[in-house]
């Protein structure tokens, strides 16, 4: 049944393209219905699957001579990310309600991207996963190159090149694993049980981890992300930061870490105090947290602030993964969900509510516009989103980062303090952006001239409420997701990872 999330999204593509010319309204409604249907299917699957253990969704031979199967399955981690995709997809359509330029194609690419993402989260055959992963890259390129803004060709090209380099690394690692195992299978569950030689894991792990990590915004391979997010149209930014970055983190956990758990073991020697790949990647994640936050602090462009904040928040996901603690991994998965929702929300405010009305994203120009008076709903949404983003209790970010930090205390105590500094800088940049964009120049003696801006439309309001609501619900009752995430991480698939730590 869950497989229908993929089919529905891909079915939407030809139907959209077959619509008669100029039927913009029908295209929007069709896209919305498709997104809602995908979400409904996920919800149904979520309700069915009580424990979060691995359940096969569909299985059929595909390329029997290579042992490649069409194997879809889901566990608690996939379910969490499917839910995220569904929510962001729906609100993304709502925030694209004003697209007039080639709307049919826009929504067709949009649905193709979503279909690919659903596919990645459900694939348990490595080749299948890789195929879906590649499918997701193409629509991203066109969404940015055709409907984007600021230096869109440059950004689209950069994004595509980074993605392809990453996929190439992943592909080399996967083929090597296939050959070394010699089991004539690409099945993730079977390969995960294969004891790869440790020296093989030692080079395959970093290769695949970095390959996926590029898409997760791993420092210093993150530079595609801010430019891509900024250039993309609002709905695409929401999907890019909200869901596509999660593809990378999901790949790190599901493929790199599950297949090659021994790759995280100690090297047996120390280079500059680093004793294993785990130390190296934890440090890179930490640098991402602090560096992303510091760069966000000095941006002039409102959208770049959010773009760099994504790097910082994804650093928490990667740091959580590197703790190799149950609680740290719980936190990392929850943080994927939480950041997906919040990045979507913040990009929606910046791109749709503010930029589409004021046609500027320059913070010093916005400062003179009194936006908190002109569009109070946007200001209120940004304040809520910002509060959630800095990790105030009561919102999803808090529970997630809390667990990551607890895991980090256990594994890298010193890093926790630095991550704490990252949180404080996070407060500072969110603050600065909020003050400048919405509450600026209220101290001026000049009488405020409120620019007449079009009011916030109903689809925008609904979209914002969906995202804020999701963050609050998970923030207040995280058990809703932890219920499926925790058993998933207890499954035998992660035994090699969690039981082998500290060697």
């Amino acid at each position: 049944m869950l497989a229908w999330t993929i089919y529905i999204s891909f079915l939407g593509v030809p139907v959209l393209l077959l619509l008669p010319k100029g039927s913009v309204r029908a295209a929007r409604i069709l896209a919305l219905l498709t997104a809602v249907a995908g979400f409904a299917v996920t919800l149904w699957g979520f309700a069915q699957q009580r424990t979060g253990e691995l359940v096969t969704v569909a299985r059929a031979p595909w390329v029997p001579s290579l042992g490649v199967e069409y194997h879809l399955a889901s566990d608690g981690i996939s379910l969490t990310l499917l839910l995220l995709t569904g929510i962001v997809a729906i609100s993304g359509v709502l925030f694209s309600w004003n697209i007039e330029h080639r709307a049919k194609e826009f929504f067709a690419f949009y649905l193709a991207l979503i279909g690919g993402v659903y596919g990645v989260f459900l694939s348990f055959d490595l080749l299948l996963l890789f195929v879906f992963y590649e499918i997701a890259i193409i629509p991203k390129y066109f969404l940015i190159a055709i409907w984007g803004s600021t230096r869109r060709e440059h950004a689209a090209m950069k994004l595509a090149l980074y993605s392809f380099v990453g996929s190439a690394m992943v592909l080399i690692g996967l083929i090597a694993a296939y050959v070394v195992a010699g089991a004539r299978t690409m099945d993730l569950v079977q390969l995960a049980q294969f004891p790869f030689p440790i020296h093989f894991q030692m080079w395959a792990f970093p290769l695949v981890f970095v390959g996926f990590g590029i898409l997760a915004g791993l420092w210093p391979f993150h530079t595609w992300a801010p430019t891509g997010h900024v250039a993309a149209p609002t709905a695409a930014s929401m999907l890019l930061a909200g869901v596509v970055m999660k593809l990378g983190a999901y790949g790190c956990l599901r493929v790199a870490m599950t297949l090659f758990p021994r790759g995280l073991d100690a090297w047996g020697f120390h280079v500059f105090g680093f004793g294993s790949w785990r130390d190296v990647f934890a440090l890179l994640a930490l640098i991402g947290i602090v560096y992303g936050a510091m760069v966000a602090l000095v941006q002039k462009d409102f959208k770049f602030v959010i773009g760099y904040s994504s790097i910082s928040h994804m650093g928490f996901v990667l740091l959580g993964l590197m703790t190799l603690q149950q609680i740290g991994l719980d936190g990392a998965v929850l943080q994927m969900f939480s950041h997906g929702i919040l990045a979507g929300l913040l990009f929606a405010v910046v791109g749709r509510m503010v930029y589409d009305r004021t046609h500027t994203r320059d913070l010093s120009e916005l400062e003179t516009m009194h936006l908190s008076k002109a569009i109070p709903f946007a200001a209120a949404t940004f304040v809520l989103g910002g509060m959630a983003s800095i990790g105030l209790p009561g919102f999803s970010g808090f529970v997630a980062e809390l667990q990551v930090l607890i895991g980090t205390w256990r594994s890298f105590p010193l890093f926790t303090v630095v991550a704490g500094v990252g949180i404080v800088i996070g407060i500072a940049y969110t603050w600065r952006a909020m003050q400048k964009a919405f509450f600026g120049s209220s101290n001026h003696s000049a009488p405020p001239t409120v620019a007449p801006l079009p009011p916030i439309s109903a689809p925008e309001r609904i979209g914002a409420m969906i995202l804020v609501g999701a963050s609050v619900i998970i923030g207040v009752y995280p058990q809703l997701l932890l219920r499926v995430i925790v058993p998933a991480l207890h499954s035998p698939l992660f035994d090699g990872l969690l039981k082998g730590r500290g060697k």
């Binding site: 609680i327 105030l392 209790p393 009561g394 529970v399 607890i406 205390w409 603050w431 995280p478």
Partner: protein, 518 residues
């Protein structure tokens, strides 16, 4: 007996109120205010019922509710009150309607203003009843947001800087607090305050820390001391203690006066409450090691803030520094009971007296300081926003009722016997003299300085030559008199019959002292 869990209801009522005010009051300003006041009174009524049903003989927790919440993190929904918690609930429930009444003249975005006040009230109720760190921290931060926006959107001319400073100081404190509690959770696997206090009493704490003390060759004692400092920082900023107080005068002065009443009346108590409920039971051993410097920090807070108040010319800033001064006595009392007394029963009694004094002082200061700021609001309303010490003079002749009632509040702040302020300070000093003689003696200087600036206010504002421009100042209206009456009456009642409060808190104080015995 209970169909509805009383504490959960109490916390939800203001939240529902906030939603109702936002939803219904957007068009009609008076409706928004009236609705908000109704919900605030409803909360007060529930608190009164709790007070009535509270069993004063037991010093332990009552009305407890325990439910599963996030099992992975050891987080339960655990609420309950003892005498201290109940007293703080009562204080919040009394001060919030007062602050609303004092904000009646607000014109801009009225429904949002009152909704934020109700949210703040919910935050206070949650903070004073939650017994699990996660749950408590949620409300601790929840109260910060509305306070920030109340200052930021409705404050005076320097509001942006004041609000930012307020938020950043408190946030840094909160992050330190959070990291410390994460480390504690890591060592013990517990977030529940009661469980943690129990562990500390049984001496299971240091062994638990020893498990992680191999980091960087820290001993368990040092780890515990560092964590204790992290938690301390969070609360010290909130109270505030010198030298973490610099956000306070600006925030109090720039906030709209109704909000200042809430800040000083209730939010500053959150810090002191944190010391009593969290830091003292859990980190008793660590605090005892640094007792002497802590005592002198409290003395510095008392004396320096009183001295600073003397130098101010703005009435709101004077009362802001005076607030720091009054809470300094609470901190002096708290730190003095850390003294090791062994089995000496008479000193144990002194400790109980000190704690009773601290509780009373918290309540009394909340009531008195809120009332004083209310009077400043009334003066501002009549003077068109002026509130300098030298802007007035001889008001006694034109507005005798205002001056008379404000005089009562001023004398209560001074600690005149017969009024509420006296009893708390008396009990604190009675207890601290034998427990910490030198700090107590030096801090008497604070009392003297307070007397000087209070009398200065009386002289400059009420007596002296009348300035011509104020000769037409209207006196208090009947409505204002009626609104002020309960507060003033309560000052007399508590001054003459403190047993009303002492009866509720005494067993809690006794039990706390017993549990701190070493």
């Amino acid at each position: 007996m209970n169909i509805l869990p009383p504490i959960s209801c109490l916390t939800i009522v203001p939240l529902l109120g906030a939603i109702a005010v936002l939803a219904l009051g957007a068009k009609n300003k008076r409706l928004a205010g009236g609705l908000a006041l109704t919900f605030a009174f409803l909360a007060l009524a529930i608190t009164l019922v709790l007070w009535h049903r509270f069993n004063p003989i037991s010093g332990g927790l009552q009305f407890e509710e325990v439910r599963a919440w996030i099992p992975v993190l050891g987080v339960q929904y655990h609420v309950g009150v003892d005498g201290l918690g109940l007293l703080m609930l009562m204080l919040s429930a009394i001060v919030v309607p007062m602050a609303m009444a004092a904000s009646w003249h607000i014109q801009e975005r009225v429904s949002l203003y009152f909704a934020l006040m109700l949210m703040l009230e919910a935050g206070l109720f949650g903070t004073f009843t939650a017994l699990n760190f996660f749950h408590w921290f949620l409300f601790w931060e929840l109260s910060l947001i509305p306070a920030f926006f109340l200052i930021r959107l409705w404050g005076g001319s320097e509001r942006a800087a004041a609000a930012t400073q307020f938020f950043l100081y408190t946030m840094v404190g909160s992050v330190a607090l959070l990291l410390a509690f994460l480390a504690i959770f890591l060592c013990t696997g517990k977030f529940d305050f009661m469980d943690l206090a129990e562990m500390a009493r049984n001496g299971q704490f240091l062994p638990a820390f020893a498990a992680i003390s191999d980091w960087h060759r820290f001993t368990a004692e040092k780890v515990a001391l560092v964590l204790c400092f992290g938690v301390f920082l969070g609360f010290a900023v909130k109270v505030p203690l010198v030298p973490f107080h610099t956000w306070l005068p600006a925030a109090y002065a720039e906030a709209p006066t109704g909000t200042t009443m809430l800040l000083t009346g209730t939010m500053s108590k959150m810090g002191v409450y944190g010391f009593l409920r969290i830091l003292l039971p859990i980190f008793c051993v660590q605090l005892r090691l640094v007792r002497t410097p802590l005592l002198w920090i409290a003395v510095a807070t008392i004396v320096l803030s009183a001295y600073a108040a003397l130098a101010q010319r703005d009435l709101k800033r004077i009362f802001a520094y005076s607030s720091i001064n009054h809470l300094g006595y609470c901190m002096l009392g708290i730190f003095s009971i850390l003294k090791f007394t062994g089995e000496n029963p008479s000193l144990a009694n002194e400790k109980a007296a000190t704690l009773n004094g601290v509780f009373l002082q918290m309540f009394n200061h909340g009531l008195t300081a809120a009332t004083l700021f209310w009077f400043v609001a009334l003066l501002e309303k009549r003077s068109g926003g002026l509130r300098g010490l030298d802007d007035f003079g001889g008001l006694r002749k034109v507005v005798p009722v205002l001056c008379g009632l404000m005089g009562i509040a001023l004398f209560s702040s001074l600690g005149l016997p017969g009024l509420n302020g006296f009893v708390g300070e008396f009990l604190i000093f009675k207890g601290t003299f034998p427990l910490a003689t030198w700090p107590a003696s030096v801090s008497v200087l604070g009392l003297l300085l307070t007397a000087i600036f209070i009398l200065t206010i009386l002289q400059r504002v009420f007596s002296g030559p009348l300035q011509e421009r104020w000769s037409q100042m209207p006196d208090l209206t009947v409505g204002e008199r009626l609104a002020l009456l309960p507060a003033i009456a309560l000052m007399f009642v508590l001054g003459l019959y403190p047993q009303l409060v002492l009866g509720v808190i005494n067993s809690t104080a006794m039990q706390m002292v017993q549990q701190l015995r070493f």
